[in-house]
């Protein structure tokens, strides 16, 4: 069996997220170098603050300002920082209970090595030079010698000019995608301008493109079958909306095409005929462009239309 195909696949997604009033105050506060917490019903101060008590589900709105210094409650030394993490050099992950708070915040600690980090050590916030209203406005923590202040945190109204009301949470994940055995064979055949499907050993149906299994019988389809090149339009629609970066004149026709010998219609664009003359039963054939890895579109063969009964099972 030839080796399966593999290709890099990058998934990137910028989620735009709106903030509730407490989150908005906290993240806007970070932009202004002010750390806010929220008081729970029983008087505990949560940093980072949330809008509902995780234990009682009480609504929490009473903001207080805590210190930007704190104590490490647990840590882990990260010898090889990964993409997106706060520091590019080896650092410690830390949970820090800021002075005035009763819960801990997760962040990075810039320290020379694991021997310089202990649970209970004192740290302070190192602010990012450019701050936008995000958790990354805290660049990291750094060691700090001072003692904890024992004053009660003061109430804060959470009001700032130009409050941040949303964040963009950008994410990127890298994959190496492999389509597996069946689709590798399909794609490799397309490179030779052939279309191959696979036949179900049980119901004898030929699936194009093949996915390796018969969805009706739940068994592997291993018997490879060449189909087409010509086929029949089983159904179609007229597209009047232009997709981004799509270099096709509107309107165009998008159709389901049952290739000769296939028991499942695949989809493709119909051209070489005015859009309003495309019809069910139209016989079409693939048109390949120079260097194309798959048919660019399908055009009429000029044969008489197929009788409805010959393809009605595939509509």
């Amino acid at each position: 069996m030839p080796e399966v195909l593999k290709a890099p696949l990058v998934v990137e997604f910028p989620f735009t997220r709106s903030l509730g009033s407490v989150q908005s105050a906290f993240l806007t506060g970070l932009r202004e170098r002010t750390v806010l917490g929220v008081k729970t019903t029983d008087g505990k101060v949560m940093v980072p603050p949330v809008e509902y008590d995780p234990v009682t589900a009480d609504e929490l709105r009473d903001l207080v300002e805590v210190e930007s210094t704190g104590t490490v409650t647990t840590w882990a030394w990260n010898p090889e920082p990964r993409r997106g993490q706060p520091l590019g050099t080896p650092f410690a992950w830390v949970l820090v209970r800021l002075d005035g708070a009763d819960t801990a915040l997760l962040h990075a600690l810039d320290a020379p090595g694991p021997d310089a980090v202990t649970t209970g050590m004192r740290v302070r916030v190192r602010w990012a030079a450019e701050r936008t209203g995000a958790i990354t406005d805290i660049a990291c923590f750094e060691p700090y010698e001072g003692e904890a202040a024992d004053a009660e945190p003061a109430a804060h109204d959470g009001q700032f000019d130009d409050a941040v009301t949303g964040i963009v949470a950008a994410a990127r994940l890298d994959y190496v995608y492999s389509p597996g055995r069946a689709q590798t064979a399909y794609i490799n055949a397309l490179a030779d301008r052939r279309t191959v499907g696979e036949r179900c050993p049980s119901c004898r149906k030929v699936y194009v493109p093949p996915r390796g299994a018969c969805p009706t019988c739940g068994v592997a389809t291993t018997d490879r079958v060449e189909v087409g090149p010509a086929g029949t339009v089983t159904t179609f629609c007229i597209v009047n909306v232009k997709a981004r970066n799509l270099d096709i004149e509107l309107p165009y026709v998008y159709a389901h095409i049952a290739l000769d010998g296939a028991d499942l219609a695949l989809h493709g664009r119909i051209a070489g005929i005015p859009y309003d003359q495309v019809r069910m039963g139209l016989k079409v054939e693939p048109v390949w462009t120079e260097g194309g890895r798959y048919p660019d579109h399908y055009r009429p063969t000029g044969e008489p239309d197929a009788d409805y009964d010959t393809y009605k099972e595939l509509v």
Partner: protein, 348 residues
């Protein structure tokens, strides 16, 4: 309450990479095996439920592809959870308890090899305060491990012992990925060394559930589900006591685990340090066989490793090696969510 049992269990070999296999190629043999064990056909199954995650595949609605392996025509009653298959099994169990169906097929799979599972799992974290920092799954487990060490509940030597015992047990498991004597290796994130961390695995698992007499008909010694419960803790790690797992304890209590002793516990503890937390939370004595399969340290197909624990526990009952077993599944960072099932064989 209606009696429901696990009557069949099958799993794939768990491997670091399975490039030549699509998801359906990986899942289909396992589905065929559980059906063959019971003699059931797809059309005999009352309800089908699966667990998996699109983030592993990097593709939307990836679970629909594996449905091809079930044979979903004529139309079947089907559901999916974007979680470990243990939670899919919970859904199926509830469905059987209602009396609406008598049998259920539950399967799950994880193909972790296409992406970087350490990074992929960051996307399940709080998107406002945590995910933008990209703390990976090993880093978060290491914070929990250090908290345990600081609390005097374990040390690096004891953790290495858990790793060694798990992989030694896995030697008897022909499907396991990492087995035998394996060096602890360097720190991944201190205090966790490579040996404290689970392998990156591709794999699949399936079980069949049946109710009452149907279960007795399909299996010589059904693994009766005496109770099952799942619980969740506060989202923020800084709010929790990382050395404990109150959600596991509560789930175990509600599942009836503490009513009588268990002889076997299959714990879903991908990191050695998590076994320390779970043994305490679930009140497991030294006389309990913990992870005789090797557990998630021997094979960790994400989204299948929890259902695997339940399946392994059930299989020991089927084989007569256990009379009362506890099976545990987890999801999320540092044992965020926990499910406990209590399984029993008929008295001998």
């Amino acid at each position: 309450m209606r009696e429901v049992a696990i009557v069949a269990f099958a799993q794939s070999d768990h491997l670091r990479t399975t490039d030549e296999l699509s998801e359906v190629d990986m899942v289909m043999p396992v589905l065929h095996q559980v059906l063959a064990q019971t003699g059931l056909r797809t059309s005999d199954i009352g309800f089908t439920c699966s667990g998996s995650s699109d983030y592993l595949a990097g593709r939307a609605f990836s679970f629909t592809m594996t449905l091809d392996g079930v044979g979903a025509w004529p139309p079947i009653s089907e559901s999916h959870v974007e979680m470990d298959g243990a939670w899919a099994m919970y859904e199926a169990w509830v469905k059987l308890l209602t009396g609406e169906v008598d049998t259920a097929l539950v399967y799950s799979y994880g193909k972790s090899s296409p992406g970087s599972v350490r990074d992929v799992l960051t996307r399940q974290l709080d998107p406002y305060y945590v995910a933008p920092l990209w703390p990976d799954s090993v880093a978060l487990a290491a914070l929990q491990a250090q908290a345990l060490i600081d609390a005097g509940e374990t040390d690096e030597t004891a953790l290495a012992g858990i790793a060694a015992r798990s992989r030694e047990s896995a030697s008897a498991n022909c499907h396991a990925q990492v087995k035998g004597s394996v060096p602890q290796g360097d720190y991944e994130v201190q205090p966790l060394r490579k040996g404290d961390c689970p392998p990156v695995s591709d794999g699949a698992v399936a079980v069949i559930l049946a109710a009452g007499d149907k279960a007795r008909e399909l299996c010589e010694r059904p693994a009766w589900i005496r109770g099952m419960d799942h619980r969740i803790e506060a989202h923020s790690l800084g709010v929790r006591d990382l050395t404990d797992s109150p959600s596991s304890r509560l789930a175990a209590e509600r599942a009836g685990a503490f009513e009588r002793p268990v002889d076997t516990a299959e714990l879903h503890a991908p990191f050695t340090s998590q076994e320390v937390v779970l043994r305490k939370a679930l009140k497991l004595g030294d006389d309990v066989a913990v992870n005789p399969s090797g557990g998630a340290l021997a094979a960790n197909p994400v989204m299948a490793a929890g259902l695997l624990r339940i399946g392994e526990a059930a299989a020991r009952i089927h084989r007569g090696e256990s009379d009362r077993a506890l099976a545990h599944a987890t999801s999320g960072p540092c044992l965020q969510q926990n499910l406990v099932a209590v399984l029993e064989g008929d008295a001998r």
